[in-house]
């Protein structure tokens, strides 16, 4: 059975504030991991203004982690060890209204297991609409794409991310960039 397809909901109510941010953590906590990715929404009804990861293990009462979103780039620099996958993202457009894009919990290609602190690139993806029946909810898939590459996105996180240059992440990201250059 094929099931790696998400669903799209057009929402009447605004969803701002619906996703919890996960437990509060210090940006310099040595157990933090940086998880990031990119989604190209050119073919979607709206751009993305919010996104969240779901922590599927270990069990927690606050499983949703809000991600910082900037022009397709999404990331969190606060994640403890555990298993995660993209849960949903959403946005609004003047004509399209509010949309939420939900990812399936099984066969989710963004599934990630963090066993030690580090930098984890989920990948770059492109939104594609999947045709559905008249009485079915809207569907989409996200296909992996080559660009933007990991290094380009890491540079954006350093340049655009609040507190990133003044935190422990500055050195870690630069070290990763140097590693990618080799």
């Amino acid at each position: 059975m094929k099931h790696r397809i998400g669903s799209v909901f057009a929402l009447i109510a605004l969803l701002a504030g619906c996703a919890s941010g996960g437990p509060e953590r210090d940006i310099n906590d040595p157990t933090n991991s940086l998880v990031f990715g990119y989604v190209d929404m050119d073919e979607a009804p709206t751009s993305v203004s919010y996104a969240s990861l779901m922590q599927v293990a270990p069990p927690t009462e606050a499983p949703y982690w809000s991600l910082t979103v900037r022009k397709g780039l999404f990331y969190s620099a606060y994640l403890p060890a555990g298993s995660y996958q993209l849960s949903r993202f959403g946005g609004s457009g003047f004509l399209a209204g509010e949309h939420q894009y939900n990812f399936g919990r099984q066969g989710n290609q963004t599934a990630l297991r963090i066993t030690k602190p580090g930098i984890y690139f989920l990948g770059s993806f492109k939104y594609k609409k999947v045709s559905s029946g008249l009485f079915e909810q809207g569907k989409f898939s996200i296909d992996k794409i080559d660009k933007p590459a990991e290094a380009e996105l890491l540079k954006r996180i350093l340049d655009e991310g609040t507190d990133m240059k003044t935190s422990a992440w500055n050195d870690k990201i630069r070290a990763r960039l140097a590693q990618l250059k080799r």
């Binding site: 059975m1 909901f9 929402l11 939420q100 066969g107 599934a111």
Partner: protein, 196 residues
């Protein structure tokens, strides 16, 4: 328009029974079982078991879905290659995970095509996990009650199925069968077999 589509889909889900046709009925007494029918006894387990927080059902009929897997069944063998449609749910077995089920079935072999577990229902969420099928329930003429085994789905935290096993737990099932239907009735062991 999209809002209306979502509304209709949600309504059908709430009334899955009404939209999809009936499930195989649970049996409490052999007097409910007709001349051409058989009681099918078995059990489905997830390994590790489903945690309470892994399923979020916010629906009026939440009991239909909580800790329950829907086994899609048909007398014709076929491979489900895409998301099941409502018609695929006709004649399903609604099994509570980790407990024996006793359901009424026509006295002829049928196939388990796959399983569906609803993970999230409510709000804007509708998430399902799918489980492999391709198994035959080898009912024979004259069978009044058959035991098909414990179907164990091993899975990881992302609901990826890592192993499928059929285990013979006949003694426990038979003890429950005798307690439920009396010691005079016999339960034939007819473990699930690969469909092909």
């Amino acid at each position: 328009m999209i809002s209306r589509r979502v509304g209709l889909a949600a309504a059908c889900l709430t009334l899955l029974g009404a939209c999809a046709g009936p499930a195989r009925q649970d049996v409490d007494s052999l007097s409910e079982v007709g001349a051409g029918e058989t009681v099918v006894v078995g059990r489905i387990e997830l390994v590790p078991p489903l945690r309470k927080d892994e399923q979020k059902i916010k629906a009026l009929n939440s009991g239909t879905y909580e800790n329950r897997i829907f086994l899609l069944a048909d007398v014709q063998y076929r491979v489900l290659v895409k998301e099941p449609v409502l018609a695929d749910y006709n004649g399903r077995i609604e099994a509570t995970l980790g407990k024996n089920f006793f359901v009424r079935s026509d006295r002829k072999p049928f196939f388990i095509l796959g399983g569906v577990l609803f993970l999230d229902i409510g709000g804007s969420e509708l998430n399902k996990a799918y489980f492999p099928g391709g198994l035959k329930v080898p009912i024979q003429p004259g069978d009044r009650a058959v035991y098909i085994g414990t179907l164990k789905y091993h899975r990881n935290e992302f609901f990826e199925i890592t192993k499928v096993a059929i285990e013979d737990d006949y003694e426990r099932a038979n003890a429950e069968f005798k307690k439920k239907f009396g010691t005079k009735n016999s339960l034939r062991k007819a473990l699930l077999t690969p469909a092909k």
